[in-house]
């Protein structure tokens, strides 16, 4: 048996170490463990039922899993009588599946359900062609839990990661996302985004009877929270770099205005309500300025508002439409959409304004660009053969790649690790969200039971 390091978790080792069993007894124990696991899953499902009424986003992975790595995430063990509010292993498995880079083994195919290092026989998992194995436990700790896990490299036969995390009862799901991100980073070298959030707009009804809502949910669609709801349109949610505020456009009281709302307190500030357009808010990377589009002087131009001093600086001055500003990650440049050349194209200028150069080369419609976190590429909406699709333009090589295949795809937003782009599309005549892997891999569809979903904005990394 492989030597297992459980130094971070001595109590677990002491409590759950068992003498080795004969083969027949091991099978019996395995079955018993599986029954416990099924019971636990059933309880979790029942507990989740009230969530369904909250119009949660459901996520369906729609392809790209062929190249994904096989990994086994064994249902986490629990101490006697403990029924955690979440199926931690299930949450981790779903997170890794959504990344498109992993293909977790179905629980029903598992021949053993170890939850401590002593119970692990890596030969079992090697025979099942698993590259990696994750086991773990959830223990009561005060009013909350202590969650520990161990990650194995099955072929090398060693442990390559482990941790023990404390959480409140309500934070168990977020803890599972954090473990998923640790596993993702250990195995891919890049940070994971399971513990991030997505802002989006939903709408039900039409005209004077419509309800438009700005929501924020976890990256897996859970915990949807209403930020603001209105009978008039809401649009263009934009995250502050610290993930604590959202800027958005509201038409409440039949006026266009930009608000900045603190997600913790719910407090919001009206930051722009000029005659004409008040649109396209975009926080600078230092969080101190908000770029926006105003048409107060007759046509759409780009401005930057200092959020502290409220000083407004005009950045473009052109009779054409200039809109959809987005800052480079280092804050030195702004890309924007302009039809100054006859059709909407992407231009780039210094962040304090001045001369602009066109950077989108192909096609007769390129709009709503935003930078990848590394600043080396932008994602944008491109019209390809009359269809509006999501594209990524490599700024260094000048190479454009189309990521989507809808006809009215829009509002692309990079995940904060740059691995995926989330965007809005239409499926079955209804607005839904989709996510596509930038370098190949998984695709997802995110939809609600009823109503339209649009304008996704992926949060920055949450501290």
């Amino acid at each position: 048996m492989t030597d297992i390091d459980t130094r971070r978790n001595p109590s677990t080792r002491a409590q759950f170490r068992r003498p080795s069993l004969s083969t027949s007894m091991r099978v019996t124990v395995r079955r018993a463990v599986r029954l416990v696991a099924i019971f636990t899953l059933g309880t979790v499902s029942a507990l989740m039922l009230p969530m369904a009424a909250q119009a949660r986003l459901t996520i369906e992975v729609t392809g790209g899993v062929e190249a994904a790595q096989p990994i086994a995430i064994v249902p986490f063990g629990v101490s006697d009588g403990l029924i955690p509010k979440e199926d931690v292993a299930g949450v981790i498995a779903a997170d890794l599946t959504r990344s498109g880079k992993f293909r977790p083994m179905p629980t029903r195919d598992m021949l053993a359900m170890p939850s401590t290092p002593a119970e692990v026989d890596l030969r079992d998992w090697s025979l099942l062609n698993m590259n990696n194995l994750v086991i773990g436990r959830v223990e009561q700790e005060g009013e909350g839990y202590r969650v520990s896990y161990v990650l194995y490299d099955v072929f090398r036969g060693n442990q390559i990661g482990s941790a023990s995390l404390s959480t409140t009862a309500g934070g168990l799901r977020l803890t599972a996302h954090r473990i998923a991100d640790q596993i993702y980073e250990k195995l891919t070298g890049a940070p994971g985004v399971a513990a991030t959030r997505i802002a989006y707009i939903t709408s039900n009804g039409r005209g004077d009877n419509q309800t438009v809502t700005l929501r924020v949910a976890d990256a897996d669609g859970y915990n949807p929270q209403t930020i603001v709801s209105s009978n008039d349109p809401l649009m263009s949610p934009a995250w502050s770099p610290d993930g604590r505020r959202l800027a958005y456009v509201s038409f409440e009281n039949r006026r266009a205005a930009i608000y900045v709302q603190d997600l913790g307190s719910g407090r919001r500030d009206l930051v722009a309500s000029f005659p004409g357009i008040n649109g396209s808010p975009a926080f600078s990377p230092d969080g101190q300025r908000l770029a926006m589009t105003l048409s107060k002087d007759g046509n759409a131009n780009i401005y930057a508002l200092d959020l502290l001093s409220r000083e407004l600086t005009q950045l473009t001055d052109h009779f054409a439409i200039d809109t959809e500003p987005a800052w480079s990650p280092d804050g030195s440049q702004i890309v924007f959409t302009s039809d100054r050349g006859g059709s909407p194209q992407i231009y780039r200028m210094a962040a304090n304004g001045g001369a602009a150069e066109r950077i989108s080369a192909e096609g007769d419609y390129n709009a709503r660009a935003s930078y990848a976190p590394d600043g080396k590429s932008i994602t944008m909406v491109s019209r390809v053969n009359g269809q509006f699709r999501i594209a990524v333009l490599d700024l260094q090589r000048g190479y454009t790649r189309v990521l989507s295949n809808g006809s009215l795809d829009e509002s692309p937003s990079f995940a904060p690790n740059g691995s995926m782009v989330i965007y809005a599309t239409i499926a079955g005549g209804r607005g839904v969200l989709a996510a596509a892997a930038v370098e190949g891999g998984g695709n997802q569809r995110l939809s609600q039971d009823a109503g339209e979903v649009r304008e996704p904005a992926w949060s920055p990394m949450m501290k």
Binding site: R206, Y365, E455
Partner: protein, 186 residues
């Protein structure tokens, strides 16, 4: 300056209309067939105001419509036609809608206490914020023409909804045609 249009004393201004149409439509794309409007563009020369409405503070004469606010709500009145449709990705006013704008300009010119909001809208194709700017351009086109017709600045407000308030939620040509519009909102 284009003279103030007054349908009461000068009901027909075809010459001016034709000149303006020519000027405004330089560079217009091929005109798409007009959408199935609920009411044809007004060509009538009869008075715009019903005998008792708008000039009198007397209680509403129509019990069926307790919220009657003005002649634009009367289907038999030319002011009832309050929607101007546009070609794709264009903010140019098509000649068939000049009379609609003039009719409202004349009413606003004679009722200077009345204010309107010009609501610009687009179809769903293209990005939302670009469409917000396009809807703004459409509303601005109508505003400029109304100013030229003598309406005062203080009577006119523009508000672009972009693609956020479609008249028809469909994802097809017919819906798109109905959604590319400016609504004169009293």
């Amino acid at each position: 300056m284009i003279p103030i249009l007054n349908l009461f004393s000068r009901p027909r201004m075809l010459g001016t209309a034709a000149v303006a149409a020519t000027l405004l439509c330089v560079g217009c794309a091929t005109t798409a067939p007009p959408p199935p409007d609920t009411q044809p563009a007004p060509t009538s020369t009869r008075p715009l105001l019903p005998p008792t409405a708008a000039t009198s503070p007397t209680p509403n004469p129509e019990p069926q419509r307790p919220t009657y606010r003005g002649p634009w709500e009367d289907p038999s009145n030319p002011l009832y036609q309050r929607t101007i449709y546009f070609d794709y990705d264009s903010a140019e006013i098509k000649p068939q809608y000049l009379d609609v704008i003039r009719t409202h300009s004349a009413y606003l010119g004679s009722t200077t206490s009345q204010r309107v909001t010009l609501e610009g809208n687009t179809d769903e194709r293209g990005t939302r914020e670009y469409n917000l700017a396009l809807g703004d351009q459409r509303a601005e086109s109508v505003r400029q023409l109304m100013l030229a017709e003598g309406v005062t600045q203080g009577q006119l407000t523009t508000l672009s909804y972009g693609e956020e308030r479609p008249a028809d939620p469909g994802h097809n040509d017919n819906a798109w045609r109905l959604n590319r519009r400016v609504v004169i909102q009293y």
